[in-house]
């Protein structure tokens, strides 16, 4: 397999956007291409990640549409829909194209424009990834699966609502240092949990999860330029290698998993990614985890191999996962505060990590970061893509 490098990374600010779908995708793509500074090297392929455009924006074949916007013909083009893991799945398609020798330069762009529909319709569109007969018809939504998971996980490992609040407070504080983040408002334990008015500020969404445990609904796009080693050698700028990727699936329904609190798909995807990169979880300097719900940051930090099972919340309590800690998690603000335009998320995690490894993150920079890890969590854990990035010289 040939080595694959990330030559450039760009994104739009996440949040509510008036831009049409393809404008979001184009702005992020052009930012990434400019960042890569390819000179005259042509783009061989374009992969677009998206989950809902066919339904909520009435547009399909987004890969072809983006080639047209950017006038990149006759580049190969495809679209990837893989639920909330669409972003990293699309990166994997680009990775495979370069690793196999079929392409030298691939643009991967994730985009979602979901605020054009009301909250109820947006929630329903994402809920359509649940099992149609055994979950969806019961009104199951992603927050409800997270609520079911959280109650079981918290009971089993002694995690309390204050720990969930710590994740939210940390990620909001990080997002406040990220000009691309949807939410740039810091929050306090008093305001969301301990003062009497916290019940008003932070109403329940899916008990035991409350509003500040859930990511916002965002529009946005994120983009990476992947290149072969031959092309990377010709470019100026720091070399970031996409050192390893892994992917694993699990049962469609959450209830069919022997231990529903065990994120087996995360564990397997992470093991694959680390093995392929020739690295270990303890080598990682910075991580972006899929905290669509606060409980998931804690659970994924364990399943990815950073902390023993049942001890993620203790690491959080110790401050290990905050900026300046032993392993900063979600310096971008995470899905929780940076936002979660579904198809863009998996790409955006790797945009942040590329910037981190290049030392371009300003106030939220993790000092001397050399190795980075991302977990893009699809379905409710039924399809997970993990990535390991490494800074070279």
């Amino acid at each position: 397999m040939k080595s694959v490098y990330i030559a450039g990374a760009g994104m739009t600010r996440f949040g509510r956007s008036e831009w049409p779908l393809m404008q979001l995708a184009s702005v992020a793509s052009l930012a990434a291409l400019k960042h890569a500074n390819l000179g005259g090297v042509p783009v061989d392929g374009v992969v677009v990640a998206n989950m809902g455009a066919a339904r909520i924006n009435r547009q399909t074949a987004l890969g072809s549409a983006l080639v047209d916007q950017l006038a990149l013909y006759p580049a190969a083009a495809e679209s990837v829909e893989n639920g909330p893991a669409s972003g990293a799945s699309a990166v994997k398609v680009g990775f495979q194209a370069i690793a196999s020798g079929m392409a030298d330069v691939v643009l991967v762009t994730g985009v979602e424009r979901m605020r054009v529909v009301n909250g109820m319709e947006g929630t329903d569109f994402v809920a359509s990834l649940s099992h149609p007969i055994a979950e969806y018809i019961y009104g199951v939504t992603l927050p409800s699966l997270a609520g079911l998971f959280a109650r079981l996980f918290m009971e089993k490992h002694g995690v309390e609502r204050k720990h969930l609040a710590m994740v939210a407070i940390k990620n909001h504080a990080n997002a406040a240092k990220n000009p691309y983040a949807h939410i740039q408002q810091t929050i306090t334990m008093e305001g969301i949990l301990t003062l009497p008015e916290a019940v008003v500020n932070n109403p329940p969404i899916a008990e035991p999860l409350h509003m500040f445990d859930c990511c916002p609904v965002s529009d946005g796009a994120a983009s990476l330029v992947l290149v072969s080693q031959e092309v990377a050698a010709k470019l100026k700028g720091p070399k970031v290698r996409l050192a390893g990727m892994g992917q694993a699936t699990d049962t469609h329904t959450v209830h069919e998993r022997k231990d529903p609190t065990d994120l087996k798909s995360v564990r397997i995807a992470a093991e694959q990614a680390f093995r392929r990169a020739g690295l270990k979880p303890e080598d990682v300097d910075v991580a972006e985890l899929h905290d669509a719900f606060t409980i998931l940051e804690i659970a994924e930090s364990e399943a990815s191999g950073f902390f023993p099972r049942g001890e993620g919340h203790k690491a959080l309590e110790r401050g290990d996962t905050q900026l300046g800690g032993r392993l900063p998690i979600n310096p971008s603000g995470g899905l929780k505060a940076k936002g979660h335009p579904v198809g863009a998320t998996g790409v955006a995690q790797l945009v942040e990590l590329t910037w981190q490894l290049r030392g371009e993150c300003g106030e939220r920079q993790v000092k001397d970061a050399k190795i980075a890890y991302a977990c893009n969590f699809g379905g409710f854990g039924n399809n997970v893509v993990a990535s390991v990035l490494q800074r070279e010289a």
Binding site: M120, Y138, G139, T141, G147, R151, P204, A206
Partner: protein
């Protein structure tokens, strides 16, 4: 309503699966008999959901995963005022969602 929720029993290894699959997840056999999913069990986990995807009459929906006494697990609506982890329940059938094609029947759980 005579509607029943059904799963599959593998004709080779006897594993009961719900929902159904085209292949037995335990032994990869492809022949099954249909079995009715019902009975008593305990609440494995539950949640009150306020962020609803469709119009329900209630302000929130109480969802649960129940482990039936034969080991099969199901997701459905928990009709109990004071839910607790591990509480004993039995299955019934009722309307779980109103959709364009009409009322959808499914599993509900009541305390025993």
């Amino acid at each position: 309503m005579s509607m029943k929720v059904t799963g599959m029993k593998c004709s080779s290894c006897g594993t009961v699966s719900y929902p159904t699959h085209a292949v037995c997840p335990s032994c990869r056999n492809e022949t099954f008999e249909t079995v009715v999913i019902e009975g008593e069990g305990k609440v494995l986990t539950y949640t009150d959901v306020y962020a609803l995807a469709v119009e329900y009459e209630t302000r929130y929906l109480r969802l649960a995963i129940v482990e039936l006494d034969d080991g099969v697990r199901v997701t459905g609506h928990l009709l109990a005022d004071k839910p607790k982890l591990g509480m004993r329940v039995k299955t019934t059938i009722g309307t779980v969602r109103e959709m364009a094609e009409g009322a959808i029947q499914g599993l509900q759980f009541v305390a025993v």
